[in-house]
Amino acid sequence: MSAFASALVGLVVLAVPPGAAAETFRVDDTAALPSETTALLRWRDFAPSGGAQETLEGSIAVAVRLNLTAVLNRTGRLYLVLPKQGTTPVRVSWATQGRLLPGEIAPGLRTLVYQGPVTNPYLEETLALRIEADGNHLPGMQRLDFFFEFDAD
């Protein structure tokens, strides 16, 4: 058992390129501000379809101001992260003004929104979120807590 563990550690060390310091930074996005405190979702179809999936949908804008000071002048990938939370299946897609990439995300995943060098300490963008939820499983209010993280090369 001890011998096997030592061999594994050795393999990991060899896999890391010399000089590379790949790090993941949780980005300070405390200045992000949704346009409303709550996104009110409507039934996609006013009447039931008879299918198992009954979708609620709505939209909300979020003014994002990312503090990238910690990764200034570094190159890497910026992700929007939506941790698993709540019990309602949701899917969130968004459009942007061009500084970040549009995309979509589901709980438990992260989506690339920028790749390249960080040349400014702050990045401002507006995300136009479109949220879809399963109407069979949204009895009340649910929180969706997003954050950004940066994988530096």
């Binding site: 980005v27 996104a39 009110l40 609620l56 009895p139 009340g140 969706l144």
Partner: protein, 206 residues
Amino acid sequence: MIAAVGACLSVALVVGDAGAFTVNITARNPRTIYLQVGVGTFTGGTYNAGGSPANNPTVNVVSVNVPAAQIGSGAAQAMTTNSTASQSLYDNFTFCNLPGQLYIGGFYRSTSNSGAATLSATSPANLVNSTGNTIPFTQIRWTSSGIGDTGAQPFPAGAFVGGVQTIGSISRNQWAESCHSFSYSNSAVVAAGTYTGRVTYTLSAP
């Protein structure tokens, strides 16, 4: 040993100071219901065409003229309706035969699993003519079917009770519909005249 130190450093960076933004979501209209007895209205086409339900104040009539020789014979008299609703507004499928059947349908939407919506009917004790003669509402009954349907109807056969009664239910996030064929039991001799009474159908969501 070096590998272990590197791993600890990486973890510390991930959980460093940072914020997050929160979006709360909730349903704007957690519950919606639609009920149609006789004619109804969808604006913008049927549901399948993206239409939406609208209010229709029409009160349809179900009636029968009993020949003098048949009064009180006990031979049930089939009733007909002035409703023009033969097609389901769900998809325009021809569901009821006119004029012998009255369309009854609707839907119930809810985000919480608190049970089905209940369809009830409230009928007066009697139909009454202009001189005050009466016919018990219990003399009117119905069978239930729908073109193409093979299973149990959501609003099954029954008879009016001269009061409040349950007609059927609509499960959560479902559309339900039936066609009712009414008949007058004609089991008693009554004075000539036109006897009327109104039944009010109510769909209640939990």
